[in-house]
Amino acid sequence: MQDKMIARAKELLRDGAVNRVLGWKTGEFVYDITPAVFTSAEELDRDFVFDAFTAANLSKYLVKESKKEGKVLAFLKPCDSYSFQQLIKEHRVDRENVYIVGIPCEGKVDIEALKARGISGITAIEETADAVTVKTVYDEDITVAKQDVLFERCVNCKSKKVVICDEMLGENGEIVDSDRFDAVAKLEAMTPDERFAFWQNELSRCIRCNACRNVCPACTCEKCVFDNVNSGVEHKVAANSFEESLFHIIRAYHVAGRCTDCGECSRVCPQHIPLHLLNRKFIKDMNELYGEYQAGADTETRPPLVNFSMDDCEPSIVYQRGGNA
């Protein structure tokens, strides 16, 4: 796929259809890949990479890139395409300045999951369709099935379908049946005390680095309330071990109905906090209360939280669901 992408990017650059390419750049190891803008065939040949580790969602970069001179080519995976379409819906990107090539995705490998299996001192990783083989300085040669080391969001993939593109490279996939709400259901089955303890433990690890917010394609406010010194809630640190809940819960509320469940928040968290569970709980609730809705699936459907219908549940639903909701 990587070769096909480079070839297509070069064509589009040569034809003048685009003047730059947004993709992923190779790093020092196999897995340390950085989003990058390429402007020449030489750069593409030298640095462009697409493999099991090109996990970063590029959509958010298009907010800025689409405001620049000329058209940019963006390769979007299914997840990224939902985020991008949601950004169009919110008028955050200039669609006409982006040429989208959709690319299929079979899930991305989480290097942390590989390392959690005791693998370290990686010198090379080879990839086949279903597995990765890791070589280490300890003279090990370890083959692991991709399925066992995918990101959580890929294990529970919601869709392999690119929902918006100018052309597709390879075959587009389908929306898939996903077990992504199972973990939410598990949380819902807890008593309020258990659930509080769960989140207290998870969120107490937060170091308030803002990686989750800054990577989030739905967090595109020009000035975040948590960065505004005049807001009165701007804090760099918690007053107690659970105050971070405020930041994360407010953020989850603010992206409710706009979060496409791309999973970037959990992917980048240096403290391994399962932040996606907060957003997924909201998605599940909205699905149950207002009918199925997938943010980013199209540009027309009104999001449930800015829509009104006579069938909407009453605010009293909160009481009916009680402490276990």
Partner: protein, 340 residues
């Protein structure tokens, strides 16, 4: 050098904990963290802790003093207290060296008494590495992962813990566990060091050389055209800063408890947009400038002011944690190419 069977490790911890608060790296929620030793707590098998060890001396947040206002009267209360003695066990060579770098900041005149207090009361027991990772590059800064510094240094080899005191504090620590220790000629340690050093030489970043940064002057690095490409994808988050054992920038803020205002300080990041924000403007408006500041500070400004010592110990946390995998090694390599 002394020796103790690993079967006795819990006794070793228990006896130290009977004298002073003891912190060891242990597994919690799938990552290694420093935790206060409790009966039965196991030492992690992971190479290093998720967060650095700087918290022990420069915590993410700490109270400085209290202010109380009553009409026109103001009361300033010095809330400092002498820190209890404590022991941190299992600190890796990179993190031990980070304390020396923090010392250069906080113990320089005027001395930061909050930091000094903790530093005076803390005993650092290092632990030699045996399984370095691909993200490790401590050797680029002259650090030997097989021979860590610290008040006392430890090695784990052939089912035994070997320990050697380097300072008076280290000797005190050994006295807590003297009955568990037997003398050793350290041959097992020497053999293991040899093995570790061979592994270190095979690491992908083994030949990363930062000294080249010193060949070019400050402004040439500052004006390098490479910064635009390097910072292009930077999200402006503080992950690199907060996992870094040597980043020491801080903010001073207030928290109103209702009965008093607590002045506290907390870690801050030069990557944040409000770091240099003032009432009438910002001296670094773009992420390029903020990104450049962080790396210039570690690789150029800090060595300029500290006898050539870089503000990095090669622990590799930022390499592993940056959401976009941009890091100090990539920056160094890019600048080196440009300046060659």
């Amino acid at each position: 050098m002394y020796q103790l069977s690993l079967d006795n490790l819990q006794n070793f911890f228990r006896q130290i904990a009977a004298h002073e608060k003891l912190y060891i790296p242990t597994d919690k929620d799938n990552v290694a963290v420093y935790a206060e030793y409790a009966e039965g707590m196991q030492l992690t098998q992971k190479l290093n802790t998720n967060r650095s060890a700087k918290d022990f001396f420069f915590p993410q947040t700490e109270n400085l003093y209290d202010l109380r206002m009553n009409g026109k009267n103001l009361e300033i209360e010095d809330t400092r207290e002498a820190c209890e003695d404590f022991v941190v066990f299992g600190v890796r060579a990179c993190d031990v060296r980070s304390f020396a770098i923090l010392d250069k900041v906080f113990l320089a005149d005027p001395v930061d008494s909050y930091y000094k207090n903790r530093r005076e009361h803390g005993t650092v027991v290092s632990l030699a590495c045996t399984r370095p990772e691909e993200t490790c590059f401590c050797q680029s800064f002259g650090i030997d992962a097989a021979a860590p510094e610290g008040d006392a240094a430890c090695w784990i080899a052939d089912g035994s813990l070997y320990i050697k005191a380097n300072t008076e504090k280290g000797e005190t620590l050994l006295s807590y566990v003297a009955d568990l220790l037997t003398e050793s000629d350290g041959s097992a340690v020497a053999a293991q060091q040899e093995k570790t050093r061979q592994l270190l030489a095979k690491l992908p970043l083994a030949n990363t050389d930062f000294e080249g940064m010193k060949k070019t002057d400050l402004m040439a690095h500052f004006k390098s055209p490479k910064w635009a490409g390097l910072s292009e994808a930077c999200l402006g988050c503080g992950t690199c800063t907060f996992v870094c054992p040597t980043c020491q920038c801080y903010d001073i803020r207030e928290f109103d408890t209702g009965s008093c205002v607590k002045k506290f300080r907390c870690w801050d990041s030069c990557m944040y947009s409000d770091f240099t924000l003032m009432a009438h403007g910002n001296s670094r408006n773009s992420q390029l400038e903020r990104f450049r500041q962080r790396f210039m500070h570690k690789l150029v400004y800090f060595p300029d002011n500290n006898d050539g010592v870089f503000g990095c110990v090669g622990c590799g946390r930022c390499l592993a944690k940056c959401p976009i995998s941009m890091n100090i090694v990539k920056v160094e390599k890019a600048l080196e190419v440009q300046d060659a």
